[in-house]
């Protein structure tokens, strides 16, 4: 009887937790299929009309493409810079290396709003016009600490002899990094890359403050929301969510699944 009770209680607890986390998303996705003008209960029936509207909306589609480009390019740059910084700090004795590690990770603790304001001031000072490039720079700033931390933590001392063997066999420093170190660290480099992609994909404040004519998807959604709730925003929100889930699924299946096995 007691066992039964604890079982029921734990199931209820788990149900509440998952409900708390996923109910908003479930509701969002459900009402993106709303057959009607308002994304609020009652659910009138199943329809794909809002998805049709999303795909027909050129501005939304342009924003979607912009988001992809910004996410991928900024993540590539963040990973490359993070890898180089991690390699230097893990393999060479640098002056004040503890301080340098701290400085590299520090932006993680600063709010996106502050980073965006700082960048805005700097860009103004240099007379650089706002564009998708400036959004990309902002995303590199926020993702570089993350990429550095992930890649640095996976650079173990057991790799040193392997790199030394490569040098012994005639490889120069660039060849060692490109042919040995980076491929060995590929799981963590990819993890860093995909995490940066999802962060950049979802990021709003920096993208909002540092963009002008071309905007990323979150900014476009925000301007849609200003004209009131609409099942179309649910539909585009569901698509954004779907992409994030897909990236995480790829990450889980290809990388984390693999590391568990080996």
């Amino acid at each position: 009887m007691r066992d039964m009770l604890t079982k029921v209680a734990s199931f209820a607890y788990a149900g509440l937790i998952y409900g708390f986390i996923f109910l908003p998303v479930a509701v969002l996705v459900l009402f993106s299929f709303q057959d009607g003008r308002l994304p609020v209960p009652p659910f009138n029936g199943f329809s794909l009309q809002w998805y049709e509207a999303v795909f027909a909306d050129r501005k939304l589609m342009a924003a979607l493409a912009n988001s992809f480009v910004v996410a991928i390019v900024s993540s590539l740059i963040a990973c490359l810079l993070g890898f180089l910084a991690a390699y230097a700090l893990a393999r060479y004795k640098l002056p004040g290396s503890a301080l340098q590690r701290g400085l590299l990770i520090a932006p993680m603790t600063v709010s996106y709003l502050i980073i965006a304001l700082g960048l805005l001031t700097v860009l103004n000072a240099f007379g650089i016009k706002l564009s998708l490039w400036t959004v990309g720079i902002g995303h590199v700033v926020i993702n570089l600490p993350l990429c550095f931390a992930i890649i640095y933590s996976s650079m173990g001392d057991h790799h040193i002899n392997i790199e030394r063997a490569a040098r012994d066999l005639g490889a120069n420093d660039v060849q060692v990094m490109a042919l040995v170190t980076a491929p060995m660290l590929m799981p963590s480099i990819l993890a860093a890359f995909f995490l940066s992609v999802t962060f950049s994909w979802d990021e709003f404040i920096i993208a909002f403050l540092l963009s002008r004519f071309d905007v990323t998807l979150p900014v476009e959604i925000w301007s849609l929301l200003r004209s009131g709730l609409n099942p179309k925003t649910n539909a585009i929100g569901s698509l954004v969510f779907l992409v994030s889930v897909a990236v995480l699924a790829v990450l889980e299946l290809t990388l984390f699944g693999k590391t568990k096995k080996s």
Binding site: A165, R167, A171
Partner: protein, 364 residues
């Protein structure tokens, strides 16, 4: 390819610690040399200096007559086989073995062909498409060997390569290493702290201690005619009996010990003929004790001894003995497996004179 190696007065200091202390060594082309010694004796430092991973504080290294003292590893005619194998985990075996050739600009098909040849040499041709994590420790070892040999080095440096293997596999790999070395003819310099391994594979052994070379020669010489007390003790179990040279003749010298006087031929003094009054240490291996009457040739009789303990080792009994003339001395002797050994038994001790080595100093 193969080449001679010469180290001249190499010294390496780390702060106040002297890892290598004025070491000179000449290795012939095609030799299998083993650097043997306890941890911290400088053997790995010497190997790193040969490989170019460290440069000596003082002294010179030449390979094939060319000064290599400050040439980086990549441009030396040496390759190193690392203790932890250091295989590239993300590459197939053929790419691991072909890596050095790739760095030398060899085209893919040609280097694959060559890599397969070297994998064949170590018996892993059929695994060319596997990755290192699919292999056992011994197989990884072989891949590391094939990779190091694939670039056709003049000198192969092996840094305790068999340390991580279990005993049986280690013995097997020793035989293979030796056979492969004979086939390729490359000069091998191998580091180990296992004296049995050293004897099993070396053409010549370099015994090192505290940054210095204690002894250098073929395994049988090092074992039978050591030139230092440390070397005698490191190569296997040995009894040290202190003595003093009383008189030196033309062909022999009389040494007084607690077990009586022994008239030793001068060639027992491996580091040179002694002068009267010199303190010496006599080294006698446990298996060199004979019971009176069993010995051949001139024999030194060491009086009687009492058996205080014994254990059967298969090939022999290992006995602890207390000599009657010097009860505070303890001696380890091997007795034949067929012997009847009992505690408290009194046995006469004798040693072939030719088996005794006398070294200057008071021993350890």
């Amino acid at each position: 390819m193969t080449a001679p190696v010469s180290v001249q007065n190499a010294t390496k200091t780390f702060g106040s610690f002297t890892a290598l202390d004025d070491v000179s060594l000449d290795i012939k082309a095609g030799e299998f040399i083993v650097l043997l010694g306890p941890s911290g004796c400088g053997k790995t430092t010497l190997l790193s200096i040969l490989g170019g991973f460290q440069s000596p504080t003082k002294g010179r290294v030449t390979i094939a007559g060319k000064d290599m003292t400050s040439v980086p590893p990549a441009r030396r005619p040496t390759t190193t086989m690392f203790q932890d194998y250091a295989l590239f985990p993300h590459m197939k075996l053929r790419d691991n073995v072909g890596f050095g050739l790739r760095m030398r600009g060899m085209a893919k098909t040609e280097r694959d062909q060559k890599a397969l040849g070297f994998l064949d040499l170590v018996g892993l041709k059929t695994s060319a498409d596997k990755k290192p994590h699919e292999l056992s420790g011994g197989q990884r070892q072989r891949v590391a060997l094939a990779r190091a040999l694939a670039v056709d080095p003049d000198v192969l440096l092996l840094d305790e390569p068999l340390g991580a293997l279990d005993l049986k596999l280690r013995r097997q790999m020793q035989d293979e290493l030796k056979a492969i070395q004979k086939r390729v003819g490359t000069t091998f310099v191998h580091v180990t702290h296992d004296q049995e391994e050293a004897m099993a594979i070396a053409d010549r052994i370099v015994v090192m201690n505290q940054g210095r070379i204690e002894d250098f020669g073929p395994p049988a010489d090092i074992y039978m005619r050591p030139r230092s007390v440390f070397s005698a003790g490191f190569m296997g179990e040995v009894n040290f009996i202190p003595g003093t040279v009383k008189h030196r003749g033309d062909a022999s010298a009389l040494v007084h010990t607690a077990l009586g006087g022994i008239d030793l031929p001068l060639k027992s003094f491996t580091v040179g003929a002694p002068s009267a009054g010199l303190k010496v240490t006599l080294c006698i291996r446990p298996e060199h004790f004979r019971r009176a009457g069993e010995a051949e040739g001139p024999v030194a009789s060491l009086g009687e001894a009492k058996v205080t303990g014994s254990a059967f080792f298969g090939t022999h009994y290992r006995c602890h003995l207390k000599p009657s003339p010097a009860p505070d001395l303890s001696i380890v002797a091997h007795m034949p497996q067929s012997a009847d050994v009992a505690d408290g038994q009194i046995v006469p001790l004798a040693v072939n004179l030719a088996d005794i080595v006398a070294l200057p100093g008071s021993g350890s």
